[in-house]
C-alpha cells in the first residue's frame, strides 16, 4: 500500500484541525486510553443523558492516524445513542482489523477511509485507540489500553 492511500487529505485535515478537541467542563463519563507501544495517550470526556451522547471531546498526544480517527469518531457519535455508538465501535474495529466486508451494509460512512490501516499491522492500534477509549468511557471505565486486548475493549477499572 502506498502512503498516500492512508494519509489521505481527509485524515491530514482532521490531524491539522481536529474536531471536538479539548475537555468537556461538565462531562459525566471519562476515560483515558494508552498505547504503551508508542506512549500515546488519549483523553475522552463525554456527556451522556438518557443513553444519548449529547457532547463529546478528546485531547491527547498522538500520531495523525490516531488523532484523525478520534476527531472523525467524535463527529460521528455526537448526538447518537449509546447503542448506535457501540455499533460504530464494533464496525470500526472490524474495519481496521480487516474483518469487515465494506460491500455489506454498515454505518461507517466516510470512516471507511481508515480501511487502509489494516495493511499496516503496527498502526492498527493507532486507529483503534480512540474507539477503545470511547467504549471505556461509555461503560464508565477509567482506563483503556490497546494492550489489554487486541480486538475488544476491556474493562480495567470503573469511574464515572
Amino acid at each position: 500500500m502506498h502512503t498516500n492511500s492512508l494519509y489521505q487529505e481527509v485524515i491530514l485535515d482532521h490531524n491539522r484541525k481536529p474536531r471536538n478537541y479539548g475537555k468537556l467542563e461538565h462531562a459525566n463519563h471519562h476515560a483515558v486510553g494508552h498505547n504503551p507501544l508508542c506512549g500515546d495517550r488519549l483523553d475522552i470526556t463525554l456527556q451522556l443523558e438518557n443513553d444519548q451522547i449529547n457532547d463529546i471531546a478528546f485531547q491527547g498526544e498522538s500520531c495523525a492516524i490516531c488523532k484523525a480517527s478520534a476527531s472523525m469518531m467524535t463527529a460521528a457519535v455526537k448526538g447518537k445513542s449509546r447503542i448506535d455508538a457501540e455499533t460504530l465501535i464494533h464496525e470500526f474495529r472490524e474495519l481496521a482489523t480487516g474483518k469487515l466486508d465494506i460491500n455489506h451494509p454498515h454505518h461507517l460512512g466516510r470512516l471507511t477511509i481508515f480501511s487502509g490501516v489494516r495493511e499496516l499491522p503496527t498502526r492498527v492500534k493507532c486507529a483503534i485507540l480512540p474507539w477503545h477509549t470511547l467504549h471505556a468511557a461509555l461503560n464508565s471505565i477509567a482506563d483503556a489500553s490497546t494492550e489489554t486486548n487486541h480486538d475488544s475493549a476491556q474493562a480495567v477499572s470503573a469511574k464515572s
Binding site: Y7, L37, D40
Partner: protein, 372 residues
C-alpha cells in the same frame, strides 16, 4: 545477517546439532567443543582474563537479571542505595526497581544535561556509605551518547562499589577491553553484533561470579543433587541452567569472528564519518530537532520533526524502504527528560552508505510535504 554467520548456523544444525556437557557420543562432544570455542571468542573479543568469566545468556536483559538475582538479592539490603542513570534502557531500570521494592533499597539517578551527557559531578555526589551498586549504560540506545564509564567505574571502586555496564549498544561499535575498564560486569546481546537473536553474554569478574548465588536452578548448573542438598557447579556452568541457546551461541561466535576480521576500530571510524555526514544533512532540514548532541556519540540520530508524530514519520519513511525506530526506545525516562513523547531514531552501521543518509533526508522532506 552476514552469510558467514548463516553458514555457521546451517553447519551446526546439519552436522553438529546435539545437547552439550552431557552425553559421550560424537555429536555431543562436537557441540560441546564448538560451544566452548564460541565462549573463548567472546572472551578474546572483550579481553576477559578467563573464559569462565563469560556466561552465555539469552541477551542483555537476561544478563542484567542474572546480576540482579545472583548478586543483588544476595548482597543488597534494606536501606542500601543503587545508582542508575537517566539514560538507562528499561532493562537496566526495572530489575533494580524490583530488587529495591523487595529489599527496601533505594534507587538514585544520575541526571543528564541538555546535550544528553551524564552529569558526572552529580554522579560522584550521589555516593555515600549506603551506596552498594552502580548500573550504567555504556552507550545510550535512545541518544547515542557514549558515557565516560572508565572514570565512573574508577570512582565507584574508590568507594568499594561494583559496577555493571550495559554494553548492548556499545559492543558493536566500540572496542571493549573489560580488563582496562576494570568493570565488574559487562553485558551485551548477539543480535546487535550481526548474530542471532536469543543469545547474549554476561562478563563478570571470576571472584564476584563465584560469590554470587545462582539465578536459575536446573540441569548443568549442579555438581550433585540429593533431596537434602544441591552442590552447585563451578562458573560459568553455575549460571547456565538447562539447555543453553547452543546454536545461537555458536552463531554469536561466528559473528564475532566476522566483526573482528573487519576490525571494530575500523567500523567505529567509518560510522563516525557517517554520523558527521548525517548530522549535517539532518541539521539542514528546517523543523528537524536532533535529540542528543553529546560530544561523544555513536552513529545514532534521534530526532523529532515539528508537527509530525514519530509514528507517522516511521510509516512514511517505511514506504521509501527506510527503517527507523520510532517510539520511546524502551527509555521513557530519557523521553521525559527531553520532554518529548517519542522520537524517530536512525541508527547507522558499517554497512550503511552516504547515499542512504541522503535517502533518509529526502524521505524526511517528503514527509514534511505530505503533512505541511
Amino acid at each position: 545477517m552476514p552469510q558467514q554467520v548463516i553458514d555457521r548456523l546451517v553447519r551446526y544444525q546439519t552436522t553438529q546439532h546435539a545437547n552439550i556437557n552431557r552425553a559421550v557420543h560424537y555429536l555431543s562432544e562436537v557441540a560441546t567443543m564448538e560451544y566452548h570455542t564460541a565462549r573463548c571468542k567472546l572472551q578474546q573479543f572483550i579481553n576477559a582474563r578467563e573464559d569462565r568469566e563469560i556466561i552465555f545468556t539469552s541477551g542483555t536483559t537476561d544478563s542484567i537479571n542474572l546480576v540482579m538475582h545472583g548478586y543483588g538479592r544476595k548482597f543488597i539490603k534494606a536501606g542500601d542505595e543503587i545508582i542508575l542513570t537517566t539514560l538507562e534502557h528499561h532493562s537496566n531500570i526495572v530489575p533494580w526497581q524490583m530488587l529495591a521494592n523487595e529489599k527496601g533499597a533505594k534507587i538514585r539517578v544520575v541526571p543528564v544535561n541538555d546535550m544528553g551527557e551524564l552529569e558526572v559531578d552529580e554522579y560522584e555526589k550521589l555516593f555515600n556509605e549506603r551506596t552498594k551498586f552502580v548500573g550504567l549504560i555504556h552507550v545510550s540506545n535512545a541518544l547515542g551518547t557514549i558515557n565516560p564509564i572508565k572514570r565512573m567505574i574508577d570512582f565507584a571502586h574508590q568507594h568499594g562499589v561494583p559496577v555493571l555496564i550495559d554494553g548492548a549498544q556499545a559492543a558493536p561499535h566500540i572496542v571493549i577491553d573489560v580488563q582496562a575498564l576494570d568493570c565488574d560486569f559487562y553485558a551485551f546481546s548477539a543480535h546487535k553484533l550481526c548474530g542471532p537473536t536469543g543469545a547474549g553474554i554476561l562478563y563478570g569478574k571470576a571472584a564476584l561470579l563465584e560469590s554470587m548465588q545462582p539465578f536459575k536452578g536446573g540441569g548443568d548448573m549442579i555438581a550433585s543433587v540429593t533431596f537434602e542438598e544441591t552442590l552447585y557447579n563451578t562458573i560459568p556452568h553455575k549460571f547456565e541452567a538447562g539447555t543453553p541457546p547452543i546454536a545461537a551461541a555458536i552463531g554469536f561466535g561466528a559473528a564475532i569472528a566476522y566483526l573482528t576480521a573487519i576490525g571494530i576500530d575500523r567500523i567505529a571510524a567509518y560510522e563516525s564519518s557517517l554520523l558527521d555526514y548525517a548530522t549535517e544533512c539532518l541539521s539542514d532540514i528546517p523543523g528537524v530537532r536532533i535529540i542528543g548532541t553529546a560530544a561523544e556519540k555513536t552513529a545514532v540520530i534521534s530526532f523529532t520533526i515539528d508537527g509530525i508524530h514519530p509514528h507517522d514519520i516511521g510509516t512514511i519513511l517505511n514506504q521509501d524502504g527506510i527503517a527507523v525506530r520510532t517510539g520511546h526506545h524502551c527509555a521513557q525516562p530519557v523521553m521525559q527528560r527531553f520532554n518529548v513523547p517519542a522520537t524517530s531514531r536512525a541508527s547507522f552501521a558499517f554497512y550503511n552508505k552516504k547515499t542512504e543518509v541522503d535517502a533518509l533526508a529526502a524521505g524526511i522532506r517528503n514527509a514534511q510535504k505530505v503533512f505541511l
